[in-house]
Symmetry: D3
Subunit: 238 residues, 6 copies
């Protein structure tokens, strides 16, 4: 029995509320249960130095956690003067995952920055971030297309992400904080709606796993992402 | 005529939604029109080094703005590796304003940190922060009292804050971004519900003002804070 | 009775010694009693990026305190690797106050930086800085005009600043360290010689104040600034 | 055909030279072809604050790359004043991987730090680091046991790591720089000598992969780690 | 002929004004011609961690240059967030030089920090700093002895420093900025009043020098330090 | 008797192994006994901003020490976020010393960066760095000349460096860590093969020295550098 009473292959309630803030070109509040992340997509008509004049765009991401998003207050990274290794690892993952779904040539010489800020944390903040950021990106790109700034849709596929892990010997889907902090192995999968994998990462925490375990987690992730793709469709009205 | 169509002494719609997040001992989402700030109060059973063993508590504040809270994306302070002068000035003001409403002896040897994070900005983020943070503090202290950790209420008064300024030659209350960016003089007042002043700060931006102007702004602030105190009462159910 | 024996509306001895150092375009050593600040004005024939090509100039300020300007040694900000919030707040105030006295169009595309470095501190370092920096600026602008680099005087008014506060229930002018560290309310006023206000800031420290108190402090400030304007005239020989 | 002429499942020449430097408790120079990493294990008789008094030890890692380990000179992280996100991600992976092979209770209240410094880079620096660091750790623990400081061997298994990727449509083992920079998908596997997985991470770079692709890479990794375990045995003389 | 018209072995006018500021335990304004440095000695009743409980004291130094001490404004190190290599090199030299004149056992478990802040620069700021800091130290130690906190004088000798260099083929003493910026070789000597050397450092700048050149510079330094010792005696009234 | 059993004027075994790594334009591993430093020369076809368009090149150096190069592990400067004063002092010395041997006009508008990274430390790391860096520079310049990018050899002389000190009252050459940590005076000499001096620096550590002592150390340095020049010749095959 999972602490939350969920079945092993059961996601938490997912909601993706579009246009949560008004200034960003795209914005959503994504919730995976009690995990709530504000994702905004900001379009800038310039690219980083290494891409200037190459006729292509860029998609990047930044991640942050409000100090009291968590059970006990964490220190504010801006006050400490640096982003933690964990923060950097997560924002690199978000950016990489979304770039895998964008044709940067079609985007043109502009940059879209996805800011994922965790308002409340209960496990799975990076996977909620990726899943929500894709919708924010979709909304922003739709505006660029409606404005005639982009001719052909640069988004090549849907992207969703979910965590899976082995908890008390059972493979379970979408770990909340209680499970996450005691899981034996813990993974994050970034999947596409055409049945492919963008990123698979599974880490042993206390107990190793084998090939069979890896596959079981991947299959759970596939189940979870089906739910997330549906929530994304509801949010974008497609 | 103000850009928003408001009367000179008219506040924007104020709402203070208590318990917006679940982990913090106190939390609200405060809105002054389109300005929205998440304020959380975090209680820690320790005090800063300069107060250790002195039998009193401390109240402090930190302020941040999400990168895309604003019309165009600002850089993330955590990524830049330092807080701007503006951020530090604001968080010092918030902390100082709330300490003026707390008997630190009665609080006991514990620290309450008010985190004010701007989700969406449209002028007046610092005054919304102070007004909301007071409610978050009230909720957190009520919990400490209900738990029997504090015997006597350390909160000595209500605190509200509002901006006023001179716009197109007229003194106006609660400036939004359009007014704020073109105001000739611009002030912030932190007031108490017993008719006193905690902080008055008025800055000439392009045109100076005189004693009469200062008083006119203060009287507008008094009007605005009456509205805010009422919103605080609704939020705390008192 | 004030600790120093001064009357409530009595300034400390003010001196502004022009040309204290030789490399800067303008330089003074300003003393308000035992508070001594070296103010230099440095002219650079370039403007910050946000003003390039706009045909106007800029005035900015930096503030520092030598580690042993104070009763006990403070740590060196350069060694700590960052400026404190207090430092940043003060230097923002100095820059803002002086810009209110300069027509940036007439200044032309150049920047004047006012460096205010506290050699010895005894309360009122920020107000002494503003009052002295105005003279350094005046001297530097006079040189630019004498060299024919500026046709019309860009300085539109005199600027002086003084602190006032409520000490032992009495409103007093120009607080020294002994008063400042025990004052119930503490304010800084930046005034012009044409009877206007550039900045008023009054903070309750331990006890709140009311409208009447605010006005009383402002009127004391007016008295003090009259003295300072006279000292500025002596320093510039006008 | 691979750029190096190797078969798809062929490792580069592996060497692990023990005791490469003399001060560290354990030290090796590990080479995977032209990738050369100096790994040292340093024992300190103290643990990080969060573990004090808990009767267990800690294993952690730091990673660095000499500025000219690469084809073109990279900037020195110490001079830039911060470690890149990539560096932090790698050192977190190394530490996590080795902790999965250590019984921290048996280690006792001491910390072993694995420093992995890349002398020359040609792809696979993180996997060489993990594989070499395990030997440095083994040597250091052997010394602690020989000195009677540890009674029971805290090392529970061998750990090796290797990269795999899909290059020109073919799954290949142990990518060098030429392959790595053009691979469609790119993964790192940390495996144990008892046929388990500590970490699997596969990232799509330009082209997605599927379950079958993931398994193919894992099986190549198993082949490569067999070679590495043999090299580790030669280095430790077991 | 030297740019200043001085003879090769002629110092600039030296003055050491004691008690220039009032809070520090020791303070002087030292001038070598137009080079002016404020040196303060601050006594703290604690030692750095590496000396705790060892029954001895410590002497250390910090150095800074006000932004407009120089011909053109330099950036403020506190604003840049770090001290330059040059600054660190100089403050290490000052601390080392003064420690060579102090019996740290006799000083007792306390630290004296010498802050040397350059008010105006015209070459030789580090040697003026050392020469002035010795007097500030002497004054502070005299106070500690007068207060009965130190029984036996811990200062073992006088210390003075001067620069020498080869300018236009001639060995010259006490270079000012004009000479310093065009010298072929440039050295700093820290000497004692008992005819010994604490530090000799001579650097070729554009042209090498030989043993004979080194000796000639040392002998000039001896001449200069005789003058400085006399100025130190005048400042301390001995 | 020296701790190592060497005669006072006896160097440790010197080896300079050229082409130790493959990417750098020049690279050596230099050993002075157990002190081992990897020196690489990296050529970049650009110069620092202050030299742009002046038709001359630049030579600079960076220095680092691997955390466990030393007897006990030091903290990693990249992780601490800054280079120590010692590191900066050393890298400034290396750069200055090598520039004294290069005609920057003949080098053309390009920069050569010498990275000196200490793999193992046993005293004399800065002098080994300079001596090795000269060979790395020689190799890199030879390549540029062979490629026809430089017409005339910009290297004007050989440069070698060695430490000397007074240990137990005796002047000794090339101190190892045991001697260095207990020496009464400690110096570093950078000499040329045409009998000149680039840099002489001798510091009293606990006991002062006199002119005679200075000369004795210089003469020992001359002996040591003769050995180093021979090792440099062997490394470059000249």
């Amino acid at each position: 029995m999972r602490p939350s009473g969920r079945a092993p292959d059961q996601m938490r309630a997912i909601s993706i509320e579009p246009n949560f803030t008004r200034h960003a070109e795209g914005s959503v509040l994504v919730s995976f249960g009690d995990t709530k992340v504000l994702c905004t997509a900001s379009v800038e008509e310039k690219v980083p130095p290494f891409l200037r004049g190459k006729g292509q765009g860029w998609v990047t991401a930044e991640y942050g956690m409000l100090p009291r998003a968590t059970h006990t207050r964490g220190s504010r990274e801006a006050a400490k003067g640096k982003q933690s290794g964990r923060t950097q690892e997560i924002q690199r993952l978000i950016g990489r995952s979304l770039r895998a779904a964008v044709d940067l040539q079609k985007l043109g010489e502009r940059q879209i920055t996805l800011d994922c800020d965790v308002i409340q944390a209960d496990g799975g903040t990076r996977t909620a971030s990726i899943s929500g950021a894709w919708v924010a990106l979709r909304i922003a790109v739709d505006k660029l297309m409606a404005q005639g700034l982009i001719a052909n849709d640069p988004i090549t596929r849907k992207v969703a992400a979910v965590s899976c892990g082995i908890h008390d010997g059972t493979a379970v889907l979408d770990l909340d904080y209680d499970e996450d902090s005691t899981a034996g192995a813990d993974g994050n999968f970034v999947l596409t709606d055409d049945n492919n994998i963008i990123e698979a990462q599974v880490t042993a925490e206390g107990e190793c796993y084998d090939e069979e375990g890896l596959l079981r987690l991947l299959r759970l992730a596939r189940i979870g992402c089906t739910d997330i793709f549906a929530a994304q469709d509801r949010a974008t009205g497609r």
